[in-house]
Symmetry: C2
Amino acid sequence: MREFELIDALRTCLAARRDDTRLGIGDDAGILAPLPHSELLVTTDTLIRDRHFPGDTSVFDIGYKAVAVNLSDIAAMGGAPAWLTVSLAAPALDRAWADAFVDGLQAACAAYPGPDPIDIVGGDTTRADQLMVTVTAIGHVPSGQAIRRSGARVGDLIAVTGTLGDAAAGLVRWPQREPGASETDPLIRRLVRPDLRDGRALIGRATAALDVSDGFLADLGHILTASNVGARLAVDDLPAAHALAAAAPDLTTFRRWQATGGDDYELCLTAPADQIGPLRDALDCALTVVGEITAEPGLTCLDRHGQCLTADVFSQAGWDHFA
Amino acid sequence: MREFELIDALRTCLAARRDDTRLGIGDDAGILAPLPHSELLVTTDTLIRDRHFPGDTSVFDIGYKAVAVNLSDIAAMGGAPAWLTVSLAAPALDRAWADAFVDGLQAACAAYPGPDPIDIVGGDTTRADQLMVTVTAIGHVPSGQAIRRSGARVGDLIAVTGTLGDAAAGLVRWPQREPGASETDPLIRRLVRPDLRDGRALIGRATAALDVSDGFLADLGHILTASNVGARLAVDDLPAAHALAAAAPDLTTFRRWQATGGDDYELCLTAPADQIGPLRDALDCALTVVGEITAEPGLTCLDRHGQCLTADVFSQAGWDHFA
């Protein structure tokens, strides 16, 4: 398939649906009409075959995840995603492949828990030796209210949406997965089609937030560094899916998946204690308090007996950001 | 170098300079405050080693070109570029390499002929087998005034900025280039560091525009198709640099470079005859009238003797879009 034909095909099935999209794919640039009294958030993330997803991930799931990881960044700032551009580099492009890829892009947009559609307003397709997808997401946030990593204050509670560690366990299980596991296996599903959270719930309530992509400890560390604070974390309070406990061969593996596994794309946030209830009401998913922000720097990890866990309990991955 | 360290390094040298950049690189997303009464343009383009640039292109020039091709898309819509995100995938990343790459990014931003700085507000670095850079550019355009490909009207003149064919000739000369040719050889320079035009000059004057990236005939064809018109083109009026004539072995090669060579990133526009003068005054570069929009569909190419040139005078590349 020629590149121009592919772009034409994509253009047809990617017609703009938002009122504030003046022009979608097909010209030199898309034309957007941002809301008055709002600021825009912009983020970009690249997924590369065999690095960010297993080589035998389905085309649909590649498209889905490429969108999801970017929507997650917008949500983590308290924003509402509105527009995407998608750059695809692949060794071969044919129509069936492109259709499945676009289906995956659109499914992730549709799964986002906001009231408005998300439009794909720009794109690029190229041949490359290695499959690679770069998505840029643009979203709205009320002026001056975006949630940054740097806002955590001493005494804030630390909370996390959903459950942690599923994607890491899903990756271990991946080679032995059943057909259709992207739909049926909860750990595999989380790996390839991350749950999407509605970041608008954070506005006016959370003091700091980010999405858990590198591993919970590493990501929480980014908040601590940016906010110049420390934290006390109750490791056994980290929220876990039933399937995770069943899949873990031992407690150390279980903790490692939860604390250092990446790719969960849950939101980790800090907020004053009296905002946890309102946050729970506003979010459409579980929110679990897992710790507290402290004045003394560094991260102290405690188990349910109040014992301090040291770095060797966890994988080095992520952990050494706290050294 | 670890990825986080590289991002930190980039963050330091990529500090935001625009008043309307609320937050640059370093959080989950950049925060932008768009102008009131303006719309935004967004475009994305990927460059891949050995496909979009020769494998031995310097790191500086790779960064430069990745930015330039995107700024060119914003200009072609009549916009003023404001923000970029940059996704870099490379087999190896070290500090010297990253510094040269960022120098190239910033040099292209600085070369843009507008009054305001351009901020890099988001980015991503990854390892991949093949070097690949994806840039997304966001720019301002007065509401409702973006220049689309679809606005050409019968009787409009067709004009092109600068000169055509230089990059194609530069690519032929590339293997024999001298050291420093990116600065000293006008054809090589155009290949690796395309001239950037100020698209704001087009607002209220041009009826349609795009940037010449696939080759002049192919790109003009996009305007004709989108506008549902035809054109008569005076092939011998296509503007040429002195260096191009000296480099061309024969007239056929010369014409092929001009008409079908890509990568020139000049602006091709249509406008009523009485707007050509004002466009010349507003642009900071040459503007040459090369043809006229006609009601009859298709593209007629005439030489200086009024002889109709057929497809076999040009390379098939680009030309078959008009078949």
